[in-house]
Symmetry: C2
Subunit: 369 residues, 2 copies
């Protein structure tokens, strides 16, 4: 497929790290919350292998924060998610499907509880701030909602722990998964969470002080030399193999969380009040009629630019492919697809048309590895 | 500036016309409402001259619709905009600033009144649907809100009238600016408005029937040969010269409509109920402290990827440049900037740093031409 340039403007704005990654060889961008998100540094496959072996620094400033504070902040945050946050603790991250009154997914952020009445919603690519504002205004909630100046740097890969320890000391390696704490660097305190959009381990640094953040960016590359650190970005191969869902790609407002395998983040049997609760109870009672699954396709190449229909051997439409990539591990294309009942059993075979040619595929579990 | 590729995925999805424009030579994209929006077909300047002389067909499917219908639809739509819609008529388009309770701009769509209880909000680049849903849920409004399957084709340029007349007959040339009506083509009725994001005249075709829309796309190029029709897209030079504001570039949630020169769409002295009304009354009483203005800069080249600060001769920061482009008409860079009081008078001179060099500029009125 031919390459097309991305047009630059303030509407699709640069991050504090953009000038650095451009010196370091970024080759492609996507947009994420109206910001540039690096999508490739040369070969996707080289970057995939490197991520699984070493350590990478990612400019993921596009993962914006929605800050909600004030007396009714807990009530508003809970209203937006089907996950029970009544026992949530300060200093912890929570992966939370955000849904509307029809139980359709609005986003799937990680929510950080900063204080009893102060939260950050670390969002995927949709304007959650507008949903929060609308709900707060309509409900006359006593809250303050804004997008703080936070530009996340992710440090991902098996050697991220050693690299971060060299800069921040032993304490950072003792942090549990989805915990966060504050660490000093170059005159500023940074909120650092043990999290990130890969399954290779690592951290996300919520940079509020840009000057210190840029110094930290450079320090990570200086100290990281011995670990073969490289610039990187969320890797399509790694994230699909790991079954990390992407809002807008694999899941969207037409899907409910039960169809997307997010059952463990759906707490219907509690007293908490959230949008779409009755609708989800209905869905649970009747049973879902489609389900997000993995697929394997017998080909070496794919670029998904929109949903692609999937048919069984009798030409019955059984679902749609939403993401896909060639996996060096499986030596074929793997993807994430929404599959209709009763075709979602593993090993269900199907056909899919790509560039005018038909290929065979099979349904399987998520994650792949 | 080096070119970077745009990464493709379902999250930044293709339009029904993407495969056509790729055959026709699109060279750059931007994202708009999570969709690909063409940003260039080769030279921006060639396309600018062509748009002002002939006729172009634009894939502006990224201009999505938020459909709001039901008993409380009028109440909800009015709540979101500071423009008085109490006398709005079916069959008309209305340019409406959408603002929040702090009077901060959320979007600046064109709103189409389809029926007494059915509206389309034809949006700029932010998820207005989430704001509308939040407000509707919070206020317990009886409305239905969704994104219909509408992919706009714009036909723009002075020869658009002749081209459209050849396909749809005399009636289409009799439509007034910002009026809309329904026109039959290839077995489907299309809503067509006399509107579009240029000042060169033309139409926007709200394609709901994709098959008919694609046939119409081809027909426009077939019939358009005699008018030298070409594929195009919103043109940065033309839109800045014409003073067409771009949400996310020139205006955003930190601005109120009075600062942005949108006074004639702000109706504070009526009985209508909308968000931010009290706040705007306060702003009007105190007077604004900054204002969106045109600027001219003595240089030949610029790429704006984020706000750029503007200083007066004494190095006082007097504002920020938000959009800019080289104008062949003025033979210098022109741009749109937010300028602080009392520096907003025409002919105020300033300095701006671009790529490490300082350039002189002057404040002027919008639009330029």
């Amino acid at each position: 497929m031919k390459n097309y340039s991305i047009a630059r403007s303030r509407r699709l704005r640069s991050t504090p790290y953009t000038s650095r990654i451009e010196k370091q060889g970024v080759t492609a961008y996507t947009s994420y919350n109206h910001m540039l998100l690096p999508a490739a540094f040369g070969s996707l496959e080289d970057s995939y292998h490197h991520l699984k072996e070493s350590v990478q620094v990612w400019d993921v400033a596009g993962e914006r924060q929605v800050e909600i504070s004030g007396k009714d902040s807990g009530k508003l945050v809970q209203l937006m998610t089907c996950r029970d946050l009544s026992k949530s603790k300060i200093g912890r991250c929570y992966y939370c499907p955000i849904i509307d009154d029809k139980a359709g997914l609005i986003n799937d952020p990680v929510i950080l509880k900063l204080a009893e009445e102060r939260w950050w919603i670390s969002i995927a690519d949709s304007d959650v701030i507008l949903f929060a504002k609308g709900l707060a205004i309509g409900n006359k909630f006593d809250v303050k909602i804004f997008e703080p100046n936070v530009d996340i740097l992710a440090v991902q890969g098996p050697k991220s722990f050693k690299l971060m320890e060299k800069i921040f000391g032993k304490k950072i390696t003792e942090m549990k998964f989805f915990g966060f704490d504050y660490f000093e660097f170059f005159g500023a305190k940074h909120l650092i969470a043990r999290s990130g959009w890969s399954k290779q381990g690592g951290y996300e640094i919520y940079v509020e002080n840009t000057k210190s953040g840029l110094a930290l960016y450079d320090k990570l590359f200086e100290v990281g030399k011995e670990f073969n650190v490289k610039p990187g970005c969320p890797n399509l191969i790694e994230r699909i193999e790991s079954g990390l869902l992407s809002y807008g790609n694999d899941i969207d407002n037409d899907d409910n969380p039960l169809e997307c395998g997010l059952d463990k983040y759906v707490n219907l049997d509690t007293n908490i009040n959230f949008l779409g609760k009755e609708k989800l109870k209905e869905v649970r009672e009747k049973g879902i009629i489609r389900r997000l699954k993995g697929v394997k396709i017998e080909t070496k190449e794919i670029i998904v630019t929109q949903s692609i229909k999937i048919f069984d051997q009798k030409n019955v439409e059984i679902g749609e492919l939403r993401s896909g990539v060639y996996s060096p591990h499986f030596e074929k294309v793997i993807g994430i697809a929404m599959i209709r009942k009763p075709y979602w059993d593993n090993s269900q075979s199907f056909k899919i048309q790509l560039n005018g040619k038909s290929f065979d595929g099979k349904v399987c579990d998520l994650p792949f590895i």
